[in-house]
């Protein structure tokens, strides 16, 4: 079967339900065993404004939003104007003739679909317009009608019992219209699937959902957060799910309170996290420093959006890297990672929790609006792949190893409860070194209610016992401890630190981070097809930077390009700071993700000129 790769774009007024059509098409195709990748471009307002849903479908994994539109459907004139310059002569344009008047820019194959009219007049239910639109697409794509009906019954739409009848009528009308269109136009783009064949199970979900699932898999027990686009749906996911896993979720009064609550919960022994976007992360800066200083494990997800300030809440940008790495007064190290695609959101999140617990450190996970909100098909997650890690605890007195305060009133054998041996219990408590100097810099962390080691975590400089101590010597020792500990991350397995692609003898090396991986890999495939060699390094770990792996990569290549979705080249700057090796920068900052074509073209221009 020939390689199948189809990109459909829907564009219309925000709030009219077109996102639902896109979503349902994606789910339907995924359920039929195809690979899907969606891309939405929305205004920040609740209703009104131009909004767009794109979906790319293939029989092989999809890596990027797609830069060649096969079908464009516009619901009104405004959206016609916005998108018409993106069509090629092979694009099929579908438009609502009552809302839109195509002109000479329209492609050869332009067909009217009076969606509104069909819904209003034939079905007499404007709410079913979505189902009509969806059905027409399925018909165009050669999906049998029974299959469509089956999929409809599995969909969210079928939940609305009161409109069931109208929706079934909408499928009929959509198929009638769609099949007529196929017949008259001769368009034929059968999906390469046999609806009756079995296929491997796969999920379709967003990056935010994958982060939510990864957190649960990692053992999340406490979530606190404050709504913010594009992170809110992580919280909403937990609102429903976390209690089912025995955890607690709180919507706090602001982001400062959210991180504070997370610090408290982690201090008390629970795996804890919050998720936010740039403005919220900015507000968390002071407390991130506290968590570094008190060595509190926790995970912060930053779903990056266009900045600065309130900026562009519904658009992606990789603009928060430096804030994540350097956003702290005083010298407070932390761990920063970036997932690269929806599946990676799941596994990286587990790793983030593992590292947080292991290194007793805040871990930041930098996602972006595109990764947060796009849907991708992924194989079911493998729960064995990344085993859970727990924090280092002091040894427990024998008879009471059964968890949180479960040993009741401190009836431990060493006299923590009776009045008799109090002195020794207290001495034992005082002997405890919360911040003991160890080779790794990691010290066993006592848990209130569990260990008989009361100590007071403080954000002031302190000694091993957590007692306040500003002596020059202690500040030096503790600064070393904090950095030595975090640098231990660099001894983790290489695959946790970086991903590498392409032939190791390629002279051109490309470095990207986060969700730019997909477009880069697709660009590399295309370049390879043209006979060009490129190798790529993707640091999953952004702080501390994996020095060994990056240095080896830099040593292998003649030229390095850093491709980033920001203006100043934040990773490029960090790399130059660390390795003193000048890099080329290719930056996009338009509130849109990279397309494979853009990267392909840029790399080709370099390959050709050198």
């Amino acid at each position: 079967m020939a390689h199948f790769d189809l990109t459909i774009r829907l564009a219309g007024e925000n709030g009219e339900g077109l996102l639902t059509v896109g979503d349902q098409l994606a789910v339907t195709m995924s359920r039929m065993g195809l690979q899907v990748y969606t891309f939405q471009n929305l205004p920040a307002e609740i209703k009104g404004g131009a909004s767009m849903a794109q979906l790319r479908v293939s029989d092989t994994p999809v890596l990027s939003p797609g830069d060649k539109i096969d079908i464009l459907e516009v619901w009104n004139q405004e959206n016609y104007e916005i998108h018409i310059s993106d069509v090629s002569e092979d694009t099929i344009l579908l438009y609502d003739p009552n809302e839109t008047t195509p002109d000479e820019r329209a492609p050869r194959r332009s067909y009217p679909i009076p969606l509104d009219k069909i819904a209003r007049e034939e079905i007499q239910a404007i709410r079913s317009k979505n189902v009509v639109a969806w059905s027409i697409f399925l018909a165009l794509l050669g999906v049998e009608k029974e299959t469509a009906v089956l999929q409809f019954h599995k969909s969210r739409w079928s939940k609305r019992k009161e409109s069931l009848e109208a929706n079934l009528k909408a499928i009929d009308a959509g198929y009638a219209y769609g099949e007529k269109l196929v017949e008259e136009s001769g368009i034929s783009m059968r999906l390469p699937v046999d609806p009756h064949a079995e296929h491997d199970p796969q999920m379709i979900l967003t990056g935010n959902t994958a982060i939510g699932m990864g957190s649960l898999a990692a053992g999340l027990q406490f979530y606190a957060g404050y709504p913010i686009t594009p992170a809110s749906d992580i919280m909403e996911f937990f609102a429903k799910q976390l209690p089912r896993f025995g955890g607690v979720i709180v919507q706090t009064e602001d982001e400062i309170a959210a991180l504070a609550a997370v610090i408290g919960a982690s201090f008390a022994g629970r795996k804890s996290m919050t998720a936010t976007s740039g403005p919220g992360l900015s507000l968390m800066v002071e407390e991130m420093g506290l968590a570094s200083m008190e060595e509190i494990p926790l995970v912060i997800v930053d779903a990056m959006r266009g900045g600065p300030s309130t900026g562009m809440p519904t658009k992606p940008e990789q603009g928060d890297l430096e804030l994540a790495v350097y956003g702290r007064h005083g010298e407070a190290p932390r761990i920063v990672m970036a997932p690269t695609d929806v599946a990676d959101c799941f596994y990286t999140t587990i790793q983030a929790f593992n590292l947080a617990e292991k290194y007793q450190s805040p871990v930041l996970l930098l996602s972006d609006q595109h990764l947060s909100h796009r849907s991708e098909t992924v194989p079911p997650f493998d729960l064995e792949r990344v085993p859970k890690v727990e924090r280092l605890l002091p040894p427990l007195p024998e008879a009471s190893e059964n968890g949180h305060g479960a040993d009741g009133n401190g009836a431990s054998p060493n006299g923590a409860s009776g009045n008799g041996e109090k002195a020794s219990a207290k001495e034992e408590a005082h002997a405890y070194e919360r911040y003991a100097f160890t080779e790794s810099g990691i010290s066993p962390m006592a848990i209130p209610g569990v260990h008989n080691h009361p100590y007071v975590a403080t954000g002031l400089e302190h000694n091993e016992h957590a007692h306040i101590d500003y002596s020059p010597r202690m500040h030096v020792l503790m600064t070393h401890k904090r950095y030595q500990k975090i640098n231990g991350v660099l001894d983790e397995p290489a695959e946790l630190l970086v991903k590498e692609f392409g032939p190791q003898d390629a002279e051109l090396g490309v470095i990207v981070w986060g969700s730019t991986q997909g477009p880069l890999l697709e660009a590399m495939q295309r370049l390879e097809a043209k006979g060009h060699k490129v190798q790529a390094l993707i640091p999953r770990m952004l702080s501390p930077l994996p020095a060994k792996q990056i240095q080896a990569f830099l040593d292998r290549v003649q030229q390095v390009v850093v491709v980033e979705l920001n203006y100043t080249g934040q990773l490029a700057r960090m790399l130059q700071a660390e390795f003193c090796r000048p890099v080329l920068r290719f930056n996009k900052y338009m509130g849109m993700p990279f397309t494979a074509g853009e990267i392909e073209e840029y790399l080709e221009s370099i390959l050709v000129s050198s």
Partner: protein, 295 residues
């Protein structure tokens, strides 16, 4: 907080003294607040490992360091949300928050209404000295207006040479308006009464607010003045009547000491517990089920 029923044998006060000697100025009111706390803990026989004391920054914020218990001395103004996180993470713990009037009602003022409405079962002791002690004597949200405080303070003339231009906030009125299920006031000069108040606050299920008048003898010595004006709650006072409490709070000629209000309201933990299925140990099947929803 352990329900009252599970009474434990008392312990010694020295069980709760940490190795760190208090660093407060001699005569500081905070000593009284602290010693009452030792006494209360000892009388309740609380296991130090099951107590967590949370504070922000300020002279008062140093208190946890002086107690043999778990403690979290955080950043300025964020003790309440930290403490709620601790309690929600492990409802078995006794969680006490301490801090200053500035920590609690200036930089931290936004967290108070939400701690109250969430009604997590923690006890919040504000050590009110009507001044910023640790930063050397600037006016706080409770400092009296005009030249009153300025004339009595060696530091205030620096920050308020022309008088304090803002009217003070009424903490007691505020927490009552927010809907506090427990509110009380004590005075460091009457540590035994404070002990009683702490007991009631710790017995109370839900968010308990304790305003502890605690003079700063170095920058604004209100000790003699307060000693002369404090008095017990009116004889006929009914602490279950929030409206009456609020009325008194808004009109009182400072300072009635005692239990201002106590009512009943479900705690956040109770409500969370009601919706939470206890499946901690076996997440895998639940996750697999969740995955299916996306297939």
């Amino acid at each position: 907080m352990a329900p009252v029923a599970e009474q434990k044998p008392p312990r010694k006060i020295t069980d709760y003294r940490s190795e760190n000697r208090p660093t407060w100025c001699p005569g500081c009111g905070d000593f009284g607040v602290l010693s009452a706390l030792y006494k209360c803990f000892a009388q309740r026989g609380l296991d130090p490992k099951e107590i967590v004391i949370v504070s922000g920054i300020g002279c008062s914020g140093r208190l946890p360091e002086f107690v043999n218990a778990y403690g979290l001395h955080g950043v300025h103004g964020r003790a309440l949300p930290i403490a709620q996180g601790i309690k929600l993470a492990n409802p078995e713990l006794t969680v006490v928050v301490v801090g200053g009037d500035g920590d609690g009602f200036a930089i931290g003022g936004g967290h108070v209404p939400h701690a109250v409405r969430r009604n997590v079962d923690i006890t919040y002791i504000v050590m009110d000295n009507e001044i910023y002690g640790l930063t050397k004597g600037q006016p706080s949200p409770t400092t009296q207006a005009g030249m009153t405080a300025v004339s009595k303070s060696p530091s205030m003339p620096k920050m308020a040479p022309y008088g304090v231009l803002e009217t003070p906030l009424n903490m007691m009125g505020m927490v009552l308006t927010y809907g506090a299920s427990f509110a009380a006031r004590g005075f460091s000069g009457k540590p035994n009464d404070l002990v009683e108040i702490y007991h009631k606050a710790l017995d109370h299920r839900g968010f308990s607010f304790v305003q502890a008048l605690s003079p700063c003898v170095t920058f604004y010595d209100t000790y003699e003045n307060w000693k002369s004006i404090v008095k017990p709650m009116p004889e006929t006072y009914d602490p279950t009547d929030r409206a009456a409490a609020l009325q008194l709070a808004m009109t009182e000629d400072r300072f009635h000491l005692g239990i201002w209000h106590q009512g009943e309201r479900a705690t956040y933990e109770d409500l969370v517990g009601g919706v939470r299925e206890q499946v901690k140990e076996e997440t895998q099947p639940h996750l697999q089920q969740l995955f299916k929803m996306f297939m």
